[in-house]
């Protein structure tokens, strides 16, 4: 064995542990990977003005999110019931995000239940593609609490209060006998003419209240108009047909019509079968009402209430049968169809004003005047907002933004 061979064996023996150590280190890919910088200034707080089932979280971006090593993929939102854990993932926010709303439902039997008045601890974990992570400090305890007033709705409360004050003031004025001028509405003035026409022709009047429920304000407005129409119908001794879509609406409509017939001194003329339930399927209802139009050819059709896709089918069928048609709805998308197919249309708020016009009772006219003043206030607000924007008064413009 030469000296060279002995030296080679010696070197090999000495280097062997180093080589083996290298081979063992290869499977662990994280060794040598630098974790990202953690998110900073993390805080959690009860979400304001809610029902007490959510916590809001905010933090500042990791130094490696969008800058630095730029390797942050996102942030994991972790929650625990004690500061030591165990932490459970509640959501993921992609890189660039600095807030999260941890919320759930109030039903305790739901998997998405979020308890209120319960302490929680949170932390945010910045993650990267190579699996390395960096955690923020644990924040807590924080608890979700329900609020008794939604301060974001102050403007609505003020507007409603102002409008209520207008209404009460004008009602008081009307009760004191002040003569209130209200602009004429063609659709309302045509009601008498339409009922008269039906009487002359000896044909019935069809009153359709749409697809609304008794809880819809448009349907409630329709009840009041139905009451006036039914009273006139009873006085003129014409027949009235009221097919209903909703059984509760039918019950109320029956009572309304019956009361009007009593008021007109014609209780004997009232028949429960004139105000009846047809169906609560939208297009089956349309088919039923169209059938009545085609078979009985009413002289006048009223469409007052809540209408959807059936509005044009009804109104066009009525137009083909030659009836005078008076319509009104608060569904903005259906108004054009009624305008096209009907003789008179009550647009939007005119539906709510109609009962006051028909009744001419001072108290009801008072509410009409209040509506006009309410509109005046809205117009003034719009003009002010435009002026603030034009002249660059940002505080004034911000006052119109939701949440301010």
């Amino acid at each position: 064995m030469t000296a060279k061979t002995i030296l080679f064996i010696l070197v090999a023996v000495l280097l062997a542990p180093l080589v083996m150590a290298q081979e063992e280190a290869v499977p662990d890919s994280t060794v040598g990977v630098i974790p990202p910088a953690p998110p900073l200034n993390f805080r959690a707080f009860d979400t304001p003005y809610d029902n007490g089932h959510s916590i809001s979280l905010e933090w500042e971006l990791s130094a490696d999110d969008g800058q630095g090593r730029n390797n942050v993929l996102g942030y994991r939102v972790m929650r625990a019931e004690s500061p030591d854990g165990p932490f459970v993932e509640r959501g993921i926010v992609t890189s660039g995000g600095t807030s999260y709303n941890d919320s759930g439902v109030k039903e305790s039997d739901s998997p998405d239940y979020f308890p209120r008045d319960h302490d929680f601890y949170y932390k945010i974990v910045a993650t990267t593609a190579d699996g390395s992570e960096a955690e923020s400090e644990v924040f807590g305890p924080v608890r979700a609490v329900g609020q008794w007033f939604n301060a974001r709705k102050w403007p609505v409360l003020i507007a409603v209060g102002l409008f209520t004050a207008f209404t009460l003031a004008f009602i008081t004025l009307a009760r004191r006998g002040k003569d209130l001028y209200v602009r004429p509405l063609a659709g309302i003035e045509a009601v008498d003419e339409a009922i008269g026409r039906a009487t002359e022709m000896g044909k019935p009047i069809l009153y359709v209240m749409g697809l609304g429920t008794a809880a819809d304000i448009a349907t409630i407005a329709s009840f009041t108009i139905l009451s006036r129409v039914a009273k006139k119908v009873a006085e003129y001794q014409t027949s009235l047909i009221v097919p209903c879509y909703d059984p509760i609406v039918m019950t109320v409509a029956q009572e309304t019509v019956k009361a009007s017939y009593y008021d007109a001194g014609r209780p004997d003329a009232y028949d429960d079968k004139d105000v009846f339930f047809l169906t609560n399927q939208q297009f089956a209802y349309v088919g039923g009402v169209n059938g009545i139009m085609i078979r009985q050819k009413p002289a006048t059709n009223f469409y007052l209430g809540k209408f959807y896709a059936e509005s044009l089918i009804l109104a066009e069928t009525g137009a083909t049968t030659g009836s005078i048609q008076i319509s009104g709805t608060d569904e903005v998308t259906q108004i054009p169809f009624f305008v096209v197919a009907c003789d008179y249309t009550l647009i939007g708020e005119e539906l709510y004003a109609a009962s006051a016009y028909l009744g001419r009772e001072p108290v009801l006219l008072g509410t009409l005047k209040a509506q006009d003043w309410g509109k005046a206030c809205v117009i003034i607000s719009i003009i002010l907002g435009v002026l603030f924007a034009i002249f660059g008064w940002q505080d004034g413009v911000d006052a119109f933004r939701p949440g301010n």
């Binding site: 939604n150 409630i220 009572e255």
Partner: protein
């Protein structure tokens, strides 16, 4: 008292609903949902009244041999059939007959009624777009521009068409829509106030 008690209920319920809008607390939500559940329960009972009314009207037509009284037999048979086939002895809502009637009769009939809308839109548009006055001509031109913009075959006829159509939709159209919506909002508040304060009570019927 027959009048005062319902008015008091309306006042309290109306006031609660108005206050509830401003109170996000879970207790307020709980009461609101409780009241809404009651509405559903009442609705179910009212449905029985509705069905009774339907039967009464149809039976009366058959009895008096009114014009087209035969349709009332079909209506009553349809009602009875759908109830019977949905009974547990026939397999409930999954029974063959119930599903057959539902899928092969009811759905096609509904679809047919709905599809009629396309023809009615065409006939209504024909009437609306007749240029019999200056305003009607403006309407016609606006409609033409918007329709050309959204026609599925050619797409907008150049950028100018697309820009004008967008302007029509986003400026005059949206402004008018918002004006109507604001008016409706005020009307709703006024009507709600009339009902809550007992000024408007025609819906209550006779004393």
């Amino acid at each position: 008292m027959k009048r005062e008690i319902p008015l008091m209920i309306v006042f309290v319920a109306g006031l609660f609903m108005a206050v509830q809008f401003f109170v996000p607390h879970a207790t307020s939500e709980y009461i609101y949902e409780f009241v809404m559940e009651w509405t559903i329960i009442i609705g179910i009972f009212a449905l029985a009244l509705g069905i009774w009314s339907f039967i009464k009207v149809a039976a009366s037509k058959i009895q008096r041999r009114s014009e087209n009284w035969q349709y009332s037999i079909v209506a009553l048979a349809g009602l009875a059939g759908m109830i019977i086939f949905a009974l547990p002895w026939f397999g409930g809502l999954e029974s063959y007959m119930f599903r057959s009637f539902f899928n092969n009769v009811m759905i096609p009939l509904h679809a047919t009624m709905f599809s009629l809308l396309a023809f009615f839109i065409a006939s209504a548009a024909f009437r609306a777009f007749r240029a019999h006055s200056a305003l009607a001509t403006v309407l016609l031109l606006s409609a033409l521009i918007v329709m050309l913009r959204f026609n599925p075959y050619m797409g907008p006829l150049g950028d100018i068409d697309a820009d004008i159509a967008s302007w029509i939709l986003n400026v005059p159209n949206l402004a008018a829509k918002r004006a109507i919506i604001i008016g409706i909002g005020l009307g709703i508040v006024a009507t709600a106030l009339k009902v809550i304060l007992g000024i408007e009570r025609t819906y209550m019927g006779k004393d």
